[in-house]
Subunit: 338 residues, 2 copies
DNA sequence: TTGAAAGCGCTAACAG
DNA sequence: CTGTTAGCGCTTTCAA
């Protein structure tokens, strides 16, 4: 910038003015033009670190998801990115799974940002709550506003929550109407579940009780050696080998439903004839399997739209009252559930 | 930092020393201890922008991939992230697809970084080459070293290239051994292909010529309204409705193979009985479909390992001679190819 | 063993 | 309309 200024014998401030496109005719058209041209020619690029240090906005919004690979987060990210095309802000994706412990609760990323979106705050318990100031909930300890989204949304800051319960209930009623053994392919054994950690289990428990059925949990521990899908495939195969086959299976998510489908195929069982299957999340892949997998559709686009809406408003007006919305996921029945 | 210093009545420099963990006993143990404790207590967090501005390394390495969602890049990202656990560097993922045009060729991200890894430099043509200085190829115009990886690696900077050709040839020979109509589900029509844009087509062309077979291209244009998979599914369905069914289909990638499998199912065709199918990339999902899809396995982990190896070495020693490696993808035959 | 001071590249008063 | 100047938070000589 100084170079450009020197070359043109104007002051750096003038260059800064035109490059920042300050409105009003602070700078004469001729000067502006010359500066622009020279900057272009000299390949000037702003130093963002310096800009931020000098008090400028970073124009970065961070999206925090846990894991890039799982299809669910892929769709979350894609939906958010679509909000950010033709938008002055950049979206920066971070994945706290890989953050170094010593960086918690700041998820290992303290580069400048103007706001933070946390999708499914389902991280090593403590991270997110510790970012939120109990007394001044709107602006976080990071100094920027946070919007929390998803099933595990935190609800004392701006949030977009997705409620799965009605859809899960419908799914389980559907299964219960067609059989007596309804299993749940879950993350943890029942006794580990807390309201906070799984929206699904309480519904499962309630519906099964209502129908007078016995709970059957198929627990799929993750293992470092195997992928999530492999673990699930093995767990389901083992369970059925030992206990026989349920009439219906509801899975914690589509990843597990896909693995479950493979496990059933491994055992020569037919879906939906021998066993009905329903997943959860609504990732695109479910429509490409055979049979197409019934699922509970997470409203990716609506969440992204609302979250960005809340956040951008909050960035402009930090003392707005709490903004919130609750969306409802929808049961999509396909062949796998008969 | 100044606050911490003031609180302890030491100079900011002292605080900086201990916080940067400079070796040698520059600072007395007692002072060090007090500083550490006070910093902790006051919740001190370094301002990375300021650190960088003052000349410190950012400890950030950027990984540039095109698109988060597609399963292929998901596996690329995961493989790289595994290199970066327990590594002082942070990995920052960027996706130039969503970069604003005016930011090219800097892919919309000019936050500080110490190095750049470009995975499959398959972006709007110009981006990557324009980052490389023709005269001083090792260090890029960005001022940091670049390592290029993947099928479309640029080979005048440090690179890890993946050669698909032998595996593709094996795949096509396998198909050609079992039928006369071998189709290629491609991105573009044949006349668009250039050596640089598709490693696969030249092999397809060569093998088909050798067997005296006629080329059949099934072109799957992407459309903004439909997902890649949907587009492919429709394109394959239409093609077969019009031209009848080939004996073997080789797909540009697994995404397309999965969609092709769905299309074949839509038409009531059996794989591999009616038509043999082989994909490319080796994404995990291929093992979960029915039938499991034959594919060409991209060496995700090896690429990540070597790329990081090259880059970290280059960061330390900028004037090392060119580093390079070529890996070979491997054909994995599963049920879909008979 | 510690402190003072310059400067990284930029922005935003303020003065002219 | 344009230039001067004081920082932003930190690192790093250099001097004490």
């Amino acid at each position: 910038m100084a170079d450009v200024a020197r070359e043109l014998s104007v002051s750096p401030a003038t260059v800064s003015y035109v490059l920042n496109g300050r409105e009003g005719t602070l700078v004469s058209d001729r000067t502006r033009e010359r500066v622009l041209e020279m900057a272009q020619q000299m390949g000037y690029r702003p130093n963002r670190a310096a800009q931020v240090l000098a008090g400028k906005r970073s124009n970065v919004v961070e999206l925090c998801v846990n894991g890039f690979h799982p299809a669910f987060n892929g769709q979350v990210i894609r939906a958010f990115q679509n909000q950010f095309v033709a938008n002055p802000y950049q979206l920066r994706i971070v994945n706290p799974d890989y953050a170094r412990e010593e960086d918690w609760p700041f998820v290992g990323n303290d580069w400048p940002m103007d706001g933070l979106i946390i999708s499914d705050a389902y991280f090593p318990e403590s991270i997110v709550p510790s970012l939120v100031q109990p007394d001044a909930p709107i602006v976080s300890k990071l100094g920027v506003p946070i919007v929390s989204t998803g099933i595990y949304a935190i609800t004392n800051i701006d949030f977009v929550r997705v409620d799965l319960s009605p859809a899960i209930e419908a799914a389980l009623r559907h299964l219960a109407a067609h059989g007596n053994r309804i299993a749940y392919v879950s993350l943890w054994p029942a006794h580990t579940e807390s309201e906070n950690s799984d929206q699904r289990y309480p519904v499962y428990q309630r519906v099964l009780r209502e129908f007078g059925l016995k709970e059957e949990m198929i627990v799929t521990y993750a293992s470092p050696a195997m992928s999530l899908r492999e673990c699930t495939r093995v767990a389901v195969r083992d369970y059925i080998a030992q206990h026989g086959c349920p009439d219906g299976i509801f899975c914690f998510n589509d990843e597990r439903a896909i693995a479950t489908l493979a496990a059933l195929r491994d055992l020569g069982l037919k879906v939906p004839q021998d066993v009905r299957l329903i997943g959860c999340d609504g990732i695109e892949e479910t429509t490409y399997h055979y049979p197409p997998i019934s699922t509970i559709q997470y409203p990716f686009d609506e969440v992204a739209l609302l979250a960005w809406d809340f956040l951008s408003r909050r960035i402009e007006q930090p003392d707005l009252p709490l903004q919130s919305a609750t969306l409802h996921a929808e049961l999509v029945l396909r062949e796998s559930s008969g």
